[in-house]
Subunit: 229 residues, 2 copies
DNA sequence: ATTATTTGTCATGGAGTTCTAAAAATGGCG
DNA sequence: CGCCATTTTTAGAACTCCATGACAAATAAT
């Protein structure tokens, strides 16, 4: 079954060029000239991916995202004219999955489109890929990535993070966590080992280890995974 | 007699998957594609539990809840795509009983469905997420919020508030309260400690500490939680 | 067999929490 | 009102809990 891609750009030349090349990869292409139009088209067509220009008349990319992100979780690749705009994209909480600056090489874009669609198709419920922000935990592949970079996790660390991410927002006691990464009975005394694993995990995945954003300590209880922006 | 579960999600793949697996547990499953449809189905079928996607076209989960909560008290498990949406669920006045982030493992969801139905079938509704006015106490997440702002509670304070909110309106003696926050035997003498905890709690949750609105003193007896506006 | 990696133990210091004790304030009731 | 019982408030001592670093044991890799 062919994937649907929505192209949003006010420049006809760019839309044509994108349609031409992406059609080669057997996608079904729909278009919109600005954010307002994109909203209508997206709601109707339910695209699998959106290529979104940042600067447009009527309604720009950021405004579009603000509204659309409340309705769907469709992956988005942002198209920006200037490199400096990238900061803006990353800085604001737009929720773009990737970005590329114009003028871009069409092959680079094709590769990213493929990559995002591959990731996202695994995003369905039956999938084994957990995504939180820039982090991707692939359960079947036992691979963990941040911003596309593979981060090496030990078996215990992976197992721990797996439970926490799967049950995002829930607080777990050390005993529960220990039970999950161990087979067989566990001893109350081994409970401090979890602290050490958490420390090592934080060193690998937290932007700032002293102010954990994802793996939070629940005083008197244990730990919780959550995106505490 | 078989329980009825209403699944509300615009993604057919997710609906199919949920129906398939939940049917194994002998539930009667009904479906809706968005909030608007869900309203009709819910009114007609009167489900015992609703699995509700947050992001949907036509009418999203939040809007649905705003309307439906005025009509019925059916327990709801929210399905969210992104971790950051949990904050929204807890922050806004959505009366959800539990939540789970996609993608989830079906076993986890089955367990929670069972848990919610078990709690709800006994007429005492023991939700995971307790809500009184602007306050939200997330029992499994161990998070307490007022107007969307996280308020840090110590383990004893959390435990105390949990019991009181769960049994809203009921007065408890200091011994009972002490027993609840302690494991092991308690001493009559420690009973004054409760006063201190209550004081600290009031400082954190009462709009005006001198005129407690929520944690009320029952003279000669103990304390009671109640919205005494 | 040797090395590297991973896992678990322990001690320490500091942060956060709980409890006590005593004084001040308040409520109930004759 | 005035008294006593009860609750509130305060401060600090005692305690619990967690992060950290150093290290030893177990396990896997070479």
């Amino acid at each position: 079954m062919s994937k649907t891609i929505l192209i949003v750009d006010d420049d006809k030349k760019i839309r044509d060029m994108l349609r031409l090349y992406l059609a080669k990869d057997q996608y079904y292409i729909v278009e919109a000239l600005n954010g307002r139009e994109a909203l209508y088209v997206a709601r109707y067509e339910k695209p699998d991916l959106i290529l979104l220009d940042l600067m447009m008349p009527e309604m720009n990319g950021i405004e579009f995202m603000k509204i659309y992100r409340r309705e769907a979780n469709t992956p988005v690749i942002m198209l920006t004219a200037r490199a400096s705009e990238i900061d803006e994209i990353l800085g604001l909480e737009i929720g773009a999955d990737d970005y590329i600056t114009k003028p871009f090489i069409i092959q680079a874009l094709r590769a990213r489109v493929k990559a995002v669609l591959r990731r996202a198709s695994g995003d369905a419920v039956e999938s084994d890929v957990l995504r939180v922000g820039e982090m991707v935990l692939d359960r079947t592949g036992r691979i963990f990535k941040i911003k596309g970079e593979t981060v090496n996790l030990t078996p215990s660390e992976f197992s721990l993070l797996e439970l926490l991410m799967l049950n995002c927002g829930r607080a777990y006691s050390r005993i529960d966590l220990l039970q999950h990464i161990t087979d067989g009975p566990v001893l109350e005394s081994q409970t401090r080992a979890i602290d050490v694993h958490v420390r090592n995990l934080r060193a690998k995945i937290e932007p700032n280890c002293n102010e954990p954003r994802f793996i939070q300590t629940v005083y008197g209880m244990g730990y919780r995974f959550m995106d505490g922006d």
